[in-house]
Amino acid sequence: MPAGPEARGGRRALVLWLPEAAADLALRRAPNLAGAPLAILADQRNARVIVGLSATAETAGLSHGAAAADARALQPGLISRPLDPAALARLAEGLRRWLGRYSPWIGREEHSPGPRSDLSFTLDVTGCAHLFHGEAALLEDMLARLERLGLRARAAIAESKGGAWALARYGVETNQPPFSDRAFIAPPGQLRACLADLPPTALRLCQETADGLARLGIRRIEDVAAIPRAALARRFGAPLCRRLDQAFGVEPEPIAPPPPPFRAAIRLAFPEPIGLLDDLRAGLARLLARLVERLDAAGLDARKLLLELRRVDRSDQRLEVGLAAPSRDAAQMLRLFEHGLEGVQAGYGIDAMRLVAREVEPRATTQHAALAPKTMFTSGETTNDAAAETAALTEVLSHIGGRFGFDRLTRYVKADSHLPEKGFYLRSAAEPRAEEANWRAAARARPPRPLIGFAPEPIAVTEAGVERRPPAVFRWRGAEHKVAAAFGPERITPEWWLDDPAWRSGVRDYWRVETTAGRRIWLFRLAQAPEPAWFAAGRFA
């Protein structure tokens, strides 16, 4: 039996650190910048600071966390790029999948705190290294491949995640041959010795604790470990002791991979091509039943479905349906596909179907009707009725949304603005409703608003002296209106923090006027206009 680390039951954790992932990614995208001083900038605490540097910029003396303006003064030729978190996330996702060649057990990617744009992965490589002829060869292979991709990386293997983390970042200074300056391996049983000379920040401490240790003159992990536990915990709290234990592998720290994303794609291949509508329907029903089963197991509801039909002549037909509310009702989904299925051109026949849930949402749980609080007006029976009613409405709205587009189905949502046209907005009715808005109370809290509001229409006023009060007679929409009563003014000022072209004309005085014919119109006057300027902006009835 080989005397490897696995034989003794020890785990081996690998930490891969890409200290300048964002800068390397930017250089990969723009190869013509190779060799140029490049900085990645991001806004932190109200300042533009450097969070990533290319190798040339680093040797030129620039440092992370420096203000962008200072860095430009030091290095006039500095090229800067804003941090692209989405691209960094995509890189992380890609790398995580790629790392699967070394180990099947890969933890979530991590980022260092502070002004850095790095990536860090933890792999459990227990029992994996011999496939690459040893740990050293594994690290060499991994780093060489990353270097070919233009990604600077460091890696370390140790018995604990904390130890490997420390060695990957701080191990270089204490590195011994035969390892390269980018990789470090702590041989089994020697982790404590390997960590001894590293600075205490390698223990993943918060800034406060790290500063406290520095003030006491503690510069090595070994010095921290030498302090009696009780005193250490009293002075710096339990987290420091915990970090120490995690680094030395005394306290286990699991490597937790993120859950795999839910993929619901189900296919059905036919021994003979089919072409009849009933056969298609039956095939779809079978796919839907399996999809719903899978959705049920995952606790999800489908929002958008895609059906791909492969014809014998290899041409694909695709049908997509959206649901106005997330659903797991196979019968309802089948009905929504009905319209599309009728338009399918089967040609020489269809030999495979594939159903994909394009968008899924976590299922909203509802209280069982029997447990729902009963009031005077709702018995258990009516609650069920109400649920059935909503399902029916959802279905018909899905049907209409499928034809018109879901952006045409809207609901009123309150907005935080005092301007009449911005006090609300329309949101797609397909989106889940946030809360039951009480508009009546909101409407009572502000002066009466018109039933319908339109873009300001100038009204013709002939009389003079209408600066303070609305005109007695005015022409609007081709008719003359005599004012019988007027209420106002209600002064509405523009939102000065937003430049809205409609409100550039300034403060408005709104009046509700009633004409002798009974029409109730909302008029306003531009309070800051040199000449009296009157407009109609809505009507109440």
């Binding site: 209409i400 034809r403 039951e436 409407a443 608003r449 509001g453 339109f454 007027a486 009974g518």
Partner: protein, 220 residues
Amino acid sequence: MNGLAIDTTAARAPLPQQTDATNVLAPPKLREARAHEVSGDGALAFAAMQAGMRLGPVVWIAAPRGEGRMDPYGLAPFVEPSRIILIDAPSEKDAFWAMEEVLRSGAAPTVIGAAGTAPDLTQSRRLQLAAEAGAAAAGKSPAPLAILLTPAGAGGPAAETRWRAAPQPSWFEGLAAPRWSWELIKNKRGPLGAWTIEAPYGRNAAPIFAAQPVDPMRVG
């Protein structure tokens, strides 16, 4: 029924099937499982008030040729805007199609159509049939009804009732209590009539609308 526009105690009580001209307080109600039409300057308020007198979701279907945006703060005294689902149909034809679909499903008790035009004979007839089918689909829930906002002087031949709604000058205090006149100018089964609707409309007023039948002699 005490005639309150929003009466939660009457949650699922059957609505009277006849517009009740003798009750001086309750605004006239529309027959269920039918399509009704309304025109005039007060048509929007008519539709909103009728929706407010009914329970459940309100589906408001509009075609692109609209006057402007309905303001939920302005709608609130008539009907709670969170009950409304707006459907913006790409064309008039699509608006009628959507109305028919919603009616037939029986899922929304009130369907309001502002297509901008009056339905022709076929569309009008189809809406009636859809409303009837919806009443069967709705089961124990309130049967759906449709209110079409049509241009003045136009209307679908198959409409159950046709109304002319116009704002009227207030009795007193200017805008404090707006009034409307509702004239029933076509009624397939039942007499015609006219009502005056008054709302103590103000900042703190409860949304209560009182109706009064107008003396037939005065309607002319």
